[in-house]
Symmetry: C2
């Protein structure tokens, strides 16, 4: 009897030591011989930005497919999906005409994604500044014929910058239609960032049905401050010229690479990021990092000879930025085929130092994952308290899949987000490697322990 | 009786809510209206690097004194201290002479701090590569007349990069004397960094008494790899020319600014960093950040009208990099005057996102501070498990002072450490501000709660 008790006590400890050891191998390999940084370099420097429907997006599909084939994943395939095809066209002009102090001057601007263009004739109008959508509703018909300038800021006191982003981004996503319903002719928004600089931030808007679609641009925070200061002194005319167009949908793909499970092959663990990016910069943090980390996570299994019991899938979703078609199609096909996704892990918060994992799922699933926290503490990954998964994996939630988001440090993300500054050089090698290893360690534990 | 129990239960909760509120004000002010970033800009861009004994070090003393005076601290004063005066002189030359493949080529090099120079005649010698001091001891007299090339690397698998630094830095600090005792004529070291690039990292060495003092230089990791590859193929002659000199000691100062305590003025809480830096780059992370954060921590009390019960001291210590004279003198004077330092908090690990505090002191003190962890969790400062304080506050430990180190993320530190790349632009505003607020919050709690 004594012997049996000892065994019962020893068993969980033995399992735990084995997991600890494997996880250490994962981190060691990622930090010593990692591929993720050089793979990201290729994606950023050889292909560059890759908005849905662009030739570069097609190149990124081909590159990641070949990359996973070169690693000898069991199956690598493309999942077709029709995506929107918005093009920016010729460089935007946002020009103040009649400033007493500054005369005529140009602002650093980017048209918002999905927005209509002014065409070559441009739009000229009086500018009226508002702090947000509430103020537009208060002003009502007073914005008619005007260019509405949304100057709401991200709240710097919110420590998780994504929280502050969530508070400010509504003027970008909904501001155009909210102003158009009172007859505004265009909108200018303060870039959604917590930094004071000359860099404009693009990002998508959504036009509401049955409301006039008006042009929309973002200007840099320095320009927004300048514009606001002038508007306190005088009426100001601004000229906007954008050449954006929405072209017919284009055939594109989610890129999928699989290691087949040895015991429970029908249980799928997906790990990924989105392959598309905005059409400026190189989509390095958003979300080249997440894609290359997902491929690396699965490569680490291959290289270290860790045979998964369940089926691991690295997925590069297409079209997160301006449609989410890839994520939706992936979930639709999964349901249609009767695939069972037990978990989906997304990295889409930049390639910064990983600090935790957020989750969206039932309490049993979350409790099980939270119990693994001690495996991650040696790697400084400590926060398992937050809610949420990721945009692309969101559509899987209806299938009972546990959604997990890699949560890196958020302090520097909005320097780069949706800007020309989101380039390879903005990503730190060790931080990126720690993220890839953390993802591999998480899918390893799910693979070994399951989620029941 | 019932009433009394309720009160007893309520009391600690009320106190806690007040602390929470004050700490939130501290972080809000730092993130919304912080001065630390602009103050660091001045120190880096207007003054620049500031090795002990240099005119720039004197400028930094004057600047920080005036800065604290401008904030209306109760007392601002200079504490005299004699410091070593090492000068680099003319740019180093480290040149490979007879590579079959590359011919003659220059390496990116910096003389090590405190090292002697070769003089204009230089030193020419055969290079012998070793992985560390152990190998020098094995080789013994075989290194006689040679240039010893220490090529030990930082271990990338150690998550806290300071741990990996500690393992590799001994070849920089002790390598020269260890090689000289067998008759080596100079040493070259692989820069102590975990990055592969062209940037050489300086830093101090210590010559052992009664051993010949030989010149010592660091080369970039790319050059170290190149050198090592060539040495596998052929014998290689390298020419080294350095013009370093150790001049007579110079009068310098620790800079001290005080807010006097209202209840326990004789109990001192010191918070600081070191004002000197290496003579390359701008000493932005090392340790302009720590100095400006310490000033900001005390300014936050002034600005928010938080009256300290105990005496708060912002201290900018001089000469951490190549002598530690400032830290030693500060502790000596404190002892001589019978000052009672209950705690000293140093920020000298870069201006990165703060993740925790390390401590060195007795168990009672540490337990008390650890109990405050929940106040910091909303600000993502979570790790109170590590040991250690800081170099400059180290000499206070003999007086029973609790030593505390701000522990930011360490992943990016050794990109910049002791290099021309340690410039203002390498510091992130929000990360720096979070660190300053975390320091202010910690000294606030010590001030209010004491450490008994």
């Amino acid at each position: 009897m004594k012997k049996l008790i000892s065994l019962l006590f020893l068993l969980p400890i033995l399992i735990s030591a084995q997991h600890e050891e494997t996880i250490k191998k994962i981190y060691d390999e990622s930090l010593s011989n990692g591929h993720v940084y050089e793979n990201l370099r290729y994606l950023c420097k050889e292909i560059g930005n890759r908005l849905s429907g662009s030739p570069e997006a097609a190149a990124a599909v081909e590159y990641t497919k070949q990359l996973m084939e070169s690693y000898g994943f069991d199956t690598v395939y493309l999942q077709p999906v029709m995506v929107p095809h918005w093009v920016r066209g010729k460089k935007e002009v946002v020009r103040a005409i009649n400033s007493d102090k500054h005369g005529t001057f140009e602002m650093n601007a980017l048209a918002l994604g999905n927005s209509v263009g002014t065409g070559p004739e441009g739009i000229l109008g009086d500018v009226i500044e508002v702090s947000g959508i509430d103020e537009v509703n208060e002003l009502g018909k007073k914005v008619e014929g005007k260019i509405v300038f949304y100057n709401g800021e991200m709240d710097p006191t919110i420590i998780n910058t994504f929280g502050a982003y969530g508070g400010a981004v509504i003027q970008r996503s909904s501001g155009a239609s909210e102003a158009a319903k009172y007859g505004a002719k265009a909108i200018i928004i303060r870039s959604v960032t917590n930094r004071q600089d000359d860099i404009p931030h693009t990002g998508s808007l959504r036009y509401k049905a049955l409301i006039n679609q008006i042009p929309a641009v973002a200007i840099s925070t320095n320009d927004a401050d300048k514009l606001s200061a002038i508007l306190k002194e005088q009426k100001l005319n601004v000229y906007i010229e954008t050449h954006c167009q929405i072209l017919p949908d284009v055939l594109s793909y989610n890129v999928i690479g699989e290691l087949r499970g040895s015991e429970f092959a029908d249980e799928i663990i997906a790990v990924g990021g989105h392959l598309d990016s905005w059409d400026v910069g190189e989509g390095a943090h958003d979300d080249g990092s997440g894609c290359m980390q997902a491929v690396e996570a699965v490569r680490l299994f291959k290289t270290l000879g860790i045979k998964p019991k369940r089926t691991l899938r690295a997925v590069m979703w297409m079209n997160e930025e301006n449609g989410l078609r890839g994520g939706q199609e992936y979930a639709r096909v999964a349901k249609e085929k009767g695939e069972k996704h037990i978990a989906a892990l997304e990295s889409d918060s930049g390639g910064f130092q990983p600090l935790g994992f957020s989750m969206s799922g039932n309490e049993n699933q979350k409790t099980k994952v939270r119990a693994w926290k001690d495996y991650f503490l040696p790697y400084r990954v400590w926060d398992f308290t937050q809610n949420g998964g990721g945009a692309d994996i969101g559509p899987l939630s209806q299938q009972g899949t546990l959604l997990i988001g890699l949560r890196p440090s958020t302090q520097r993300y909005f320097i780069y987000h949706h800007t020309p500054a989101d380039v390879f050089e903005a990503v730190d090698r060790r931080e990126l490697e720690l993220g890839a290893a953390s993802m591999a360690a998480m899918i390893y534990l799910i693979d070994r322990e399951g989620l029941n």
